[in-house]
């Protein structure tokens, strides 16, 4: 059994994969990451993490269609697995629970649909 903990960066990438859907491949994920978080990241770092998430069973991937702008090369499209979704939910629940127990923030409303 591989380690199934979810790191912060991993969690973010997993979410972005979910957001991008059909367009979830390394370059797009990196670009989306930069847009959403306003932080730069290298494709290699993203790819490396995606690879690790795949090993943990949170992601699957398959090769997509070749595109002209990639010099006719195919891209690897990632998709969240059931285990991935469970891990995300689990992580959110733990954090929400923690947030609500923090007295200073306890009266804040979180604008998150459950």
């Amino acid at each position: 059994m591989k380690e199934t903990k979810l790191g912060d960066f991993e969690e973010t990438l997993l979410l972005i994969v979910g957001i991008l859907g059909e367009e979830a491949y390394a370059f797009k994920i990196a670009e989306e990451f930069e847009n959403q978080l306003e932080r730069s990241v290298s494709i290699g770092a993203v790819h490396s993490t995606l690879n690790r998430l795949g090993e943990k069973g949170f992601l699957t991937s398959e090769m997509g269609e070749p595109t002209a702008e990639r010099g006719g090369r195919r891209k690897r499209i990632y998709e969240i697995t059931g285990a991935g979704e469970r891990a995300l939910k689990n992580s959110r629940d733990i954090k929400l629970s923690l947030w609500s127990q923090f007295p200073a923030f306890s009266d804040l409303k979180f604008n998150i649909g459950s």
């Binding site: 370059f27 290298s42 494709i43 290699g44 790819h47 490396s48 990639r70 090369r73 891209k75």
Partner: protein
């Protein structure tokens, strides 16, 4: 719009990236690149591409470069194939390994020699704290550095500056061999008269007795080798050793021999300086006849102490005299860095030699490596098929490279073993030639580390080009037998041959020049007759009976004449300045070689008097007359030297004013490579230390010696009859140069030998490659001469090219070398001629062996194959 991702970045990425990731990653990065190029500049996009590539250097993405499970199998397979290849081409392998072994042998010898030079004096325990006190004479003409000091310096150092030093000891400036008499047997031994602290400074290892024994001037310390030689198995302690047969000393200590590569390595005894000086504190400030050595206290730095004693002499010198400063020379600089020019340390001759030989070693090794590369790449025809088969059944290029590298390493280690045995075998010979006592460094881990590292490097250098070249073959071409070596690789190989021969030719020309220079100096007129001249060191017992001895010797008819002088004939010791022509405003700047001679000196040495007359006993008091040499006449600027008077600052013979009565041709007493030293001879009738005997030229020396010995035993029975021949003494002056000559001969011989070995192999291969062509040409009527010319032409051209390259290099190098000699040859064109022609002939002979063999072969045999 042809902007594309940077080519090298793409290539680099494909190199390290896992095969299965290539497509998606290259795609992603390319997409990112075009995305960036729309928003940013072209260069910015390219830079970002590189950034992305480097960010893929992560463990998950890098391909697995090793094939671990296959490695041992492939390795043993490679070894096996290497071994078979070695046996298949026996001559070839022999040339290959032999050439490399020779090159390595030379390199190891040179390395051992350099190591020996650099480890000079390191045997002393406190090597880094031992210093010699040196003197700087500062005058308007420049700064001169000297090691001679006055006795007062030592005393002052001890009394005023004692807090810097643990020990200080002075010795006489000019040590000489001394006559030690033990049980009435005379031994001439080298040793030093020192103040009592010298055993502590040098940290002598005492085998018997203590280092303190020298505190009593009646004691003597002897070396272990001397004790073994003289006392054998007896206990040397307490035995009597008599110096010069006059002063009896007691052996109170035996020290372990100092190694040959140390400043005092020749010492067979240490005795107290007080013996000769009669007092332990020779407190003088006008006689520079001492050297001083010291060991600093642990916490004192050499530069601090050096600075502190700088002005030590100032209070004891006249204010208007040029200043003299002192400084400390650390022991590490004694041997290799004690040459000064205008007060600054400059590269000494020894260091130059080390560099020169180091360079030669590197060159020879380089030549051997070139051979190795050339021979291996020239095998491309036969090895090409092998490479083809390997690749066809799935070898990657890396594995083929492995195969060839394994071979290269196997060969180099074979060569290393051979060369180590050669070094072991020839080390005694090498020591004789180089006048060294170099030990084989069996126990030195550094030696093994360097040897192994060295052969690894050689294997890598020599093996990499063939490996890369041979592994690059296209398997289809190779298997079809359609391998053609590209123009590029052929050029490369030819370039290597040219380089190799250029180096060899430079070395040959160098060798010839060195021998010419030595011969030139040997043939130089030296101003006296050195054949048939016996020299001897006098002793007190002899001085009493000199007149009797002289008349007795002459009476036998064996001896023509006998004379005395205060310095040997073959040194330029004894120099003085302060001479002045009467009426001249200033002193002559020249320093003259001033020696005292008995009136028969001229007749004994058979000098050549050009004008004036010789000294004579019959003409009464001659003490104010002098004879000078031609170069002295020149230095004084005299037209008519005879009768000319000259004034001296210091007294000689009780006079300050002398008349020149004769002029002799310059006598070459010092280095035969230098300009003659201006000579000034003063007549003297008192006993002097050096004795010269002129043997009747009609009587063979072998017969003369016993007769002379008989007279000596009759007249001065206690004087040990020890003699030397002036011509032999003179010959020792060539030792260093002859040593260079012998080494140069050996090295250049080896260089040309190794080069020819390579050429031999290369020509063999060229001939086998063209064997069909030769057959067809022969069938069509070509003569043996035609074929020979055809096959040898290429190599001839290469060697000619090498000659053209080598001439300017050789001429520059040899002119630089010759600059060191005042008396030197010109480099004549024929020296180049001989160098080139001999090299050319040897090459042609080497190449012709195979080309003639191929030309003579029956064409049927070569054409019917396959």
């Amino acid at each position: 719009m042809s902007t594309q991702p940077p080519k090298y970045a793409v290539r680099f990425l494909s190199f390290f990236l896992k095969q299965e990731l290539q497509e998606e990653v290259l795609g992603d990065l390319e997409e990112a690149f075009y995305f960036n190029i729309q928003k940013k500049s072209k260069n910015r996009a390219k830079l970002l591409y590189w950034y992305q590539v480097f960010n893929y250097l992560r463990p998950f993405a890098i391909r697995n470069f090793s094939t671990p499970n296959m490695y041992p199998v492939m390795f043993s397979h490679n070894l096996k194939i290497s071994y078979r290849t070695l046996l298949k081409n026996k001559t070839f392998s022999l040339i290959n390994i032999g050439g490399l072994a020779l090159g390595m042998t030379v390199a190891i010898f040179i390395a051992l020699w350099i190591y020996d030079e650099y480890s000079y004096n390191t045997n002393h325990e406190h090597y880094d704290r031992i210093v010699q006190v040196m003197r700087k004479d500062i005058s308007p003409d420049g700064i001169r550095v000297n090691s001679s000091l006055t006795g007062g310096v030592g005393v002052e150092l001890e009394e005023t500056y004692g807090h810097y030093f643990e020990h200080i000891a002075m010795t006489f400036f000019r040590p000489e061999t001394e006559l030690l008499v033990v049980k009435e047997e005379p031994y001439r031994e080298m040793g030093y008269f020192f103040q009592k602290d010298i055993p502590h400074i040098l940290s002598l290892e005492m085998k018997q007795g203590t280092r303190e024994a020298l505190e009593n001037p009646a004691n003597i310390l002897v070396s272990d080798r001397f004790a073994q030689k003289v006392f054998g198995k007896e206990n040397p302690i307490g035995k009597t050793v008599s110096i010069n047969g006059t002063t009896d000393l007691i052996v109170q200590g035996v020290f372990e021999d100092l190694p040959e590569n140390s400043t005092f390595g020749d010492a067979n005894f240490f005795a107290s300086m007080a013996l000769i000086y009669n007092e332990n504190n020779p407190y003088t400030w006008n006689n520079y006849n001492m050297k001083a050595f010291a060991k600093l206290k642990e916490e004192v730095s050499i530069s601090d102490a050096s600075l502190a004693i700088k002005e030590l002499m100032k209070p004891y010198r006249d204010v208007e005299d040029d200043p003299r400063e002192l400084f400390l020379l650390p022991m590490k600089d004694w041997h290799l860095n004690s040459t000064f020019e205008d007060g600054v340390q400059v590269t000494s001759k020894k260091v130059q030699f080390i560099r020169l030989y180091g360079l030669i070693g590197v060159f020879i090794l380089f030549i051997a490596c070139i051979n190795f590369m050339n021979l291996n790449t020239s095998q491309f025809q036969s090895r090409g098929k092998e490479v083809g088969v390997r690749k066809a059944i799935g070898s990657a290029r890396g594995e083929v490279i492995n195969q060839f590298m394994t071979e290269a390493f196997l060969y180099t280690f074979g060569a290393l073993i051979i060369s180590l045995s050669l070094v072991y075998l020839f080390l005694p010979t090498f020591n004789t030639v180089a006048a060294k006592e170099i030990m084989f460094q069996w126990a030195n881990p550094l030696f093994w580390l360097v040897s192994l590292g060295f052969s690894l490097t050689v294997g890598l250098i020599a093996g990499s080009y063939p490996a890369i070249f041979l592994s690059s073959f296209n398997p289809i071409q190779a298997l079809k037998g359609r391998l053609r070596q590209g123009k590029k690789s052929e050029r490369f190989r030819q370039g290597l041959v040219v380089l190799q021969f250029a180096i060899s030719i430079v070395m040959i020309i160098g060798t010839i020049t060195i021998h010419q220079q030595i011969q030139h100096a040997k043939n130089r007129p030296i101003g006296y007759e050195k054949e048939g001249l016996i020299t001897m060191t006098g002793s007190r017992t002899l001085y009493q009976s000199l007149d009797v001895l002289r008349s007795e010797l002459k009476n036998t008819g064996v001896v023509q004449e006998m004379a005395l002088a205060n310095y040997p004939l073959t040194t330029t010791l004894g120099n003085n300045d302060g001479f002045k022509l009467p009426g001249a405003s200033s002193e002559l700047t020249t320093s003259f070689n001033t020696i005292f001679v008995s009136p028969e000196y001229g007749k004994t040495t058979q000098w050549e008097l050009t004008t004036g007359r010789d000294f004579s006993r019959e003409l009464g008091d001659e003490s104010a007359n002098i004879i000078i040499s031609e170069s002295a006449v020149e230095a004084m600027g005299l037209e008519n030297p005879i009768g000319q008077e000259i004034e001296a600052k210091y007294e000689f013979n009780g006079h300050n004013r002398f008349t020149i009565i004769g002029v002799v041709r310059d006598m070459i007493k010092g280095s035969p490579f230098d300009e003659p030293k201006p000579l000034m001879l003063f007549p003297a009738e008192f006993p002097m230390r050096y004795l010269f005997i002129r043997v009747n030229p009609n009587i063979p020396l072998g017969n003369a010696i016993p007769e002379i010995r008989e007279i000596f035993s009759k007249v001065a029975p206690e004087h040990p009859f020890e003699y030397a021949f002036a011509d032999n003494q003179y010959l020792t002056k060539f030792k260093a140069e002859e040593q260079t000559g012998v080494l140069a001969t050996i090295f250049s011989g080896l260089a040309i030998l190794i080069s020819c070995l390579g050429l031999f192999g290369l020509s063999a291969f060229m001939v086998t490659q063209r064997v069909k062509e030769i057959g067809i040409r022969k069938v069509l009527g070509a003569s043996v001469t035609n074929l020979w010319a055809l096959l040898s032409k290429d190599f001839g051209l290469l060697v000619l090219l090498a000659c053209i390259i080598s001439i300017p290099i050789a001429s520059y190098a040899m002119n630089t070398w010759l600059q060191d000699f005042e008396y030197r040859i010109q480099i004549y064109w024929w020296i180049y001629g001989i160098g080139i022609i001999s090299c050319f002939l040897v090459t042609m002979l080497t190449v012709s062996y195979h080309s003639i063999k191929a030309s003579l072969a029956n064409p049927v045999n070569s054409l019917k194959t396959e």
